[in-house]
Point group: D2
Chain length 346, copies 4
């Protein structure tokens, strides 16, 4: 039984991790750290956990974390993980970091997009960027995972199969639409109020969102060339789900059938990525609450452009689900253990 600790238990990502881990037959949650909930049960903040067997939340203490857990999920805000992880790793603990601390290999990009200096550059260099489907062997042997951003996960899964020369690299446009849980529970402001979000729809972070460098870094790594994209996130009045609509001018694909065949081959044997039949489009609703990813594709012969659509749950495959999938890989388990519970529909 894997002993699991979670730092930042009171955020949405932390709570979702706990939901997944409670259903995991090989893991046991042995340590929960939360400054705001110290000395209290998690159900104080999340009554959805009433009646479940969980340790009381503690103020974070590295000795306790190291003592009680074999693997630790860092689910706090940006900037904490880079201070905490070195101590955990030094004592042989494995670490999966949910925020952005270890994602960007270029320290200048980190400073530019996060407004702070990254104080653990050697760990950034070591960390494996954890899109589970793309780097399973590296993840399996890693001690530190940079869990990808939610938008980045959707965009990378949507585009990875095309990074073999199938499209013009300078033509990639990523138009993403997300439910609002991605903003987290600690960001409490007027634009986050129900009345302001409901029956509304807007773009934000146009041409400067933080997930842009993450997407470009991974696509560039896949293709071996520098890739620059346009990435536009939008807020949708729903709790969960990201739909990524990606556009690229094709070079070598003749039809929708060819496109989908490429995707099927690329994701063969990866149970969480489902490539839909021609004529079908993914709906975020079909992956709500799950770790699945549904992908659809069309080639428009008039414009010679591929339109890829990709649905994930931003809290599942986009955060906690993928983190648990990575834990499975790191612990030598089948990647699906504890993660096959399907979407809650409707």
């Amino acid at each position: 039984m894997i002993r699991v600790g979670i730092i930042g238990a009171s955020g949405y990502a932390g709570a979702e991790l706990i939901r997944y881990l409670l259903a995991h037959p090989e893991a046991k949650i042995t340590y929960l750290a939360s400054d705001s909930l110290k000395g209290k049960p998690l159900s104080e903040a999340y009554p959805s956990f009433l009646g479940r067997d969980l340790p009381v939340c503690e103020k974070y203490d590295s000795h306790n974390a190291i003592d009680k857990a074999d693997i630790i999920f860092q689910a706090q805000g940006n900037g904490v993980g880079m201070r905490v992880a070195p101590h955990l790793l030094a004592k042989g603990r494995k670490v999966i970091d949910i925020p952005a601390d270890f994602r960007l290999k270029d320290p200048e990009q980190y400073t530019q997009f996060y407004g702070a200096v990254n104080t653990a550059p050697e760990l950034v260099a070591e960390a494996v960027y954890g899109v589970s489907e793309l780097h399973p062997e590296q993840i399996a042997s890693a001690r530190l995972i940079a869990n990808p951003g939610c938008y980045a996960t959707g965009a990378i899964l949507a585009l990875a199969p095309l990074m073999n020369g199938a499209v013009e690299l300078d033509s990639v446009i990523i138009d993403s639409k997300s439910g609002v849980s991605g903003a987290g529970r600690s960001k409490v402001d007027v634009p986050g109020l129900f009345c302001e979000v409901n029956e509304g729809l807007k773009a934000y972070g146009v041409a400067n969102h933080r997930h842009t460098p993450e997407i470009e870094q991974e696509l560039s790594s896949l293709t071996g060339q520098s890739v620059q994209v346009n990435f536009t996130p939008h807020l949708i009045p729903m709790n969960r789900g990201i739909l990524t609509t990606a556009y690229a001018n094709v070079r070598s694909l003749a039809s929708t059938a060819d496109l989908l065949a490429l995707y099927r081959e690329f994701y063969a044997g990866r149970p969480f990525v489902q490539v839909l039949d021609e004529g079908r489009q993914p709906n975020t609703k079909n992956v709500f609450g799950s770790n699945f990813c549904h992908i659809g594709g069309v080639i428009d012969p008039r414009t010679n452009r591929a339109i890829i659509t990709c649905a994930i749950d931003n809290m599942g495959k986009g955060a906690a689900g993928q983190a648990v999938q990575n834990m499975n890989l790191m612990c030598g388990l089948d990647e699906t253990v504890g993660l096959m519970n399907g979407a809650v529909y409707p």
Copy 2:
């Protein structure tokens, strides 16, 4: 391993049953019947099941059902179960009926509220009305369960502890609010359209809803006297959840603390019913996607009235979750097996 069959797999209740049963370690779905999906995988209608291991749907045939399954969930529309169940029971199969065919002991009430004659009166007499928390022993030894209506489950769990003389029986008012999945997927009409439901709120079935006799039958059975209530259902623009707000004039309870103590004692040892602390109110969100039931209570000393609030997921404790809980009891398993996956929040 219990071999499970489901008739009516393509409705919301059927799909929800399948979601629960796929997560059940002691059950295997061996038979799916659906006229509309015959010869097709369930994922044709519910892409949320893509990548899951399920039998192809068949047109219903009693021989196949009897051959392939030990226990059968009937999840079709009203009026089918009374024709199907006799054959299944005759061959030693256990049956859990989700619609209303076996709920009302009085055949005249059935005719009045469902507009048809009940053709299996002896099975109606035999069937156990399956609020799991109230009749666990009877359920355990039953071969036919009438699974309670969603509104009825919420109302009965909210009021059962008061049926010991604590309140004036002629003062009971039940004001229920439900998400719209209770209407099912086969009822397709203008009032069910997104645009008509969203940003709207209304009562319906005022003073004549079908769940009224079911509630009264059970409360009367619990108290040994004839109980008549006012039950008013309302439609809420959300998918899942029922909040029951019940009012009754108290006779023997002096304070909110006394009220909650009564509830805690009544539901002691029943893991799915959580009685909240004084000052807390249940939110349907905290039981979304789960089989849990959260109950809050207040005594208003000015009016000497108890106000009980009770949250369930109409698809979970109000339908499929309770059906699986009843299956567990009927099969000698712990009632929680496969059902402890918590609410999806947020």
Copy 3:
């Protein structure tokens, strides 16, 4: 042309007032006060007003208000109006106060429910409680209106026709359901976040909500006897609308037809209150964005109880719409001027 000033322009009630007044042919907005927006156009906070002709917001100054406006709407938080109104009234200005400062005639109740001493008791005594349909003559001759609370408006309109002896006064139960805009834009907390409200439903303020004394004061005044009620508000995942479901044991009404006849007679000639035909139930959606009120009623002959349902827009008839209706009455205009724009549907 009536010169109108609004204090507290940046809240939801203020913005809604401005929306109504911009469509009013006899009124011109000449003064907008908002501390948070001083020196800025209102469209800074509400881009929905882009392209509309409005004065720039100012920091509140009584001289400017008195100089620029004939009638002033006070739409700030509780406790401000009692300090501001005396100066405005002293200079002959008419005042409509949207918060609760002048609603409760009993100063002890104000202290109990609002946690502060009311410093303008003589104005409280003078103020007319402005349910437009009940006191049109008093409103017409008033210089200070206490605009009723949103829940209180719905409850009072639902019950007023029964206060003539038709029901048992100690049997009144009011179960109200509201969209969340009633919480306002300045209350920014975790429970107000989209993700926390969406797909959720809960009661709050059970047996102690602030609108209870307001409802009881008005019902008592109508009936001439002390009335105590149970009032339970609920939060519904929608922006606008209150549905009030009221229950009372009837004394003198024999049928639903009698009940509805009573309501039709009571509200004859009041254009904003529409009594629905037997068998119809009001939907808040049908009054969304408007000053209308729809009422339905049923007598349950089994329990001898009346069930009244009443739909308003909490921002319209429940706040800004009724305030403008009161302004019309105070200014000698037809009460419908500028208010007949119908609900936005769907």
Copy 4:
């Protein structure tokens, strides 16, 4: 006073037209035709019109329409207008057609996208495609208006200012997101149910949606060259609103400031189109229920691409609002008459 008739009063577009026209000081609704509501008041289907002064609905009869109305809005389904309009025009009536019958100049395109032969090709040739801001003089002198599609209106307003050579014409991608009222009230199917739409998000009609030829026809007309675009519509769980996100590679624009200056100049003097300040993004919520259009723009200097975002209400500027604006132009009124009622917020 303009006498106005509406055919197809019971659909969403018809009801929205009536809402706008009831607030129009120079128009009077004198004729309502609806097969489904013949002999009944509109409030039977739309209780939101209770208490409003409207003619009873009639079965459509061209003599009555011609007799009672000076201008007729055709708001029925596709294919009816081409049969009805010739008779109305022959008797000197003006016609505004809301569906697609007169939009596509190329009859083959009509057949391809609507599956039927257009039987009034000479009227198609005559009809003015009514984006009010682009062709006010032609509209003013027209007797037949093809009212643009909702998606098309958003896309064309977003891109029109760039059709002067500012962008590469073969690089245009239009990613649109719409609330679901665009599907109308008569299309009643499972995918339209609340439970299926709520908390879901999907693309549809990828690379083959009917509004594509309409957009291309208008953009080609503006630029004088054949323009082919990718247009991808998405369904958003909200009632109203379209956000268009358009991408194009720029040729002659150096900065976001230049881009916005171009838009401001292009739309100078057009009150319903508001170009937002740099750094601001439009939200459909800010135009909900109104005829306004908000546009934002960014140049990404890294990719040399313009990203334009454009918010309209699909029922307002995207249908009924623009239809009334066109009526104003055709009748010699200021285009804003009766249309300045602002968005309902929140």
